[in-house]
Symmetry: C2
Subunit: 263 residues, 2 copies
């Protein structure tokens, strides 16, 4: 299978843009330019890469093969309206934005949504990141798959509707889970205890569902119907009405799921 | 430092009991007996260990050095009332139960609470598990530390009050986090998608807080105040009123934390 090297322009220099630039640089593709509303951010990334220029969207290179819009969701449609790229492939990287907002930019459009959380300074191995691919024609999808293969070993064909549900589910396992860690950290800090005492538990909780179904891994007072412990916990949370509400609602939901799963 | 080998009796043959028996067997201590209300469970564990007998609490060995009550929380006080062990060390393993419920059993009592989630058939490396230790005298605490050192490299001296908060925080990072995974799994299943697409994200979310403070790792629509995406998600959850409530409450809590942390 021939997977020809592509000339890539990346638009967006935030957390995802930074990590994507690094992954493109490690792949055999040519990242020729990074564009950003914030030229300083684009410059900071481009300067670390050997063959990459930077600029604003109005100075965009016209002769690349693929244009990746990795800006925040709210800017994607605006960026697309500012581009006029004929039939060059234009994709965005969002979990929620519809593919069709890219129509003003090109006749060949698609989505490359990496299901991962990105922080500017924390490097991730792109090879393991699931990439959800979508395009507006069979030819475009084939081209996008060939392009994505050197980036990741986990490619999925996912339409816009499915992608939105995956993004929503990702909010639960990432954003909401991280908030559970933050609440725990706040409770421990008040108590002069370190989060270190919970870090092995955090790791093990995630590790278990790598090979198991989460419903089967559920433990704790709610799932075993231990009302005394739940009442003691609710009492302990007297000073935090917001955490108390969260405790009650999630415990109810676990109790409900336990009953439903055991039916 | 001399850490003499101890003769141990383990009471309880559930998830924690099973894993603790394996850890004791790997340590230099002598697990002489496993007692359980359910003799079959005790037998199943004991048969796999070379020098361990099994029985019910009424047949308990009288000449061990330390007795570990690893039953469910509700049974600890009852087991303690059934024992009469003079000044032999008696400890329980619960995150929530007060140490003093052990008083009927012995004059030397304590707690050895492992901050981890246990499943009967999933082996864990006890060496990395934080153990919270408490005892009713300096001598008893010293003895308990010496006993626990071959089991784990993470020993903490924690009193009953602090231990209760740690257990509560553990509910957030384990039970509630796992429920987030379950909700994501339910949403994906309805959509004919596999949880595999989120597993790298689950792993990375946990990995990040191994070296970082969770508040600094928060991403997503709530923390960046992206109301359009939150409204779209709430709409997507129309068919699941319970998940919708959870989405709203956790998003509000993240928004509130973001404002507080940025003050």
């Amino acid at each position: 299978m021939v997977e020809p090297k592509k000339k890539v322009v990346l638009i967006g220099a935030g957390n995802l843009g930074t990590q994507l630039a690094k992954a493109l640089n490690r792949s055999k593709h040519d990242l020729v330019q990074i564009c950003s509303q914030n030229e300083t951010s684009a410059k900071l990334i481009a300067q670390k890469l050997p063959y990459t220029s930077y600029g604003s969207v109005k100075d965009i290179e016209q002769d690349a093969d693929i244009y990746i819009i990795a800006t925040n969701d709210a800017s994607i449609a605006k960026v697309a309206r500012d581009l006029s790229l004929g039939n060059k492939m234009v994709v965005h990287t969002s979990g929620t934005v519809d593919m069709k907002v890219l129509r003003p930019a090109s006749s060949r459009i698609g989505v490359l949504y990496p299901v991962q959380t990105f922080t500017r300074d924390i490097n991730v191995d792109f090879k393991n990141i699931p990439l959800c691919l979508e395009a507006n024609s069979v030819t475009a999808l084939t081209m996008l798959k060939h392009f994505a293969r050197p980036l990741s070993n986990n490619l999925y064909e996912i339409d816009s509707n499915k992608r939105k549900t995956i993004h929503l589910a990702a909010v639960f396992v990432n954003n909401f889970t991280n908030h559970m860690y933050s609440i725990a950290h706040a409770l421990l800090s008040e108590n002069n205890s370190s989060l270190d005492i919970l870090r092995p538990l955090i790791t093990e909780t995630a590790r278990k569902v790598n090979e198991n179904i989460p419903e089967k891994m559920q433990t704790g007072p709610a799932t075993r119907g231990d009302h005394d412990t739940m009442l003691a916990h609710i009492k302990l949370l007297e000073g935090h009405k917001d955490y108390q509400e969260i405790y009650k609602l999630l415990s109810q939901s676990i109790i409900h799921s336990t009953i439903t799963n055991n039916k």
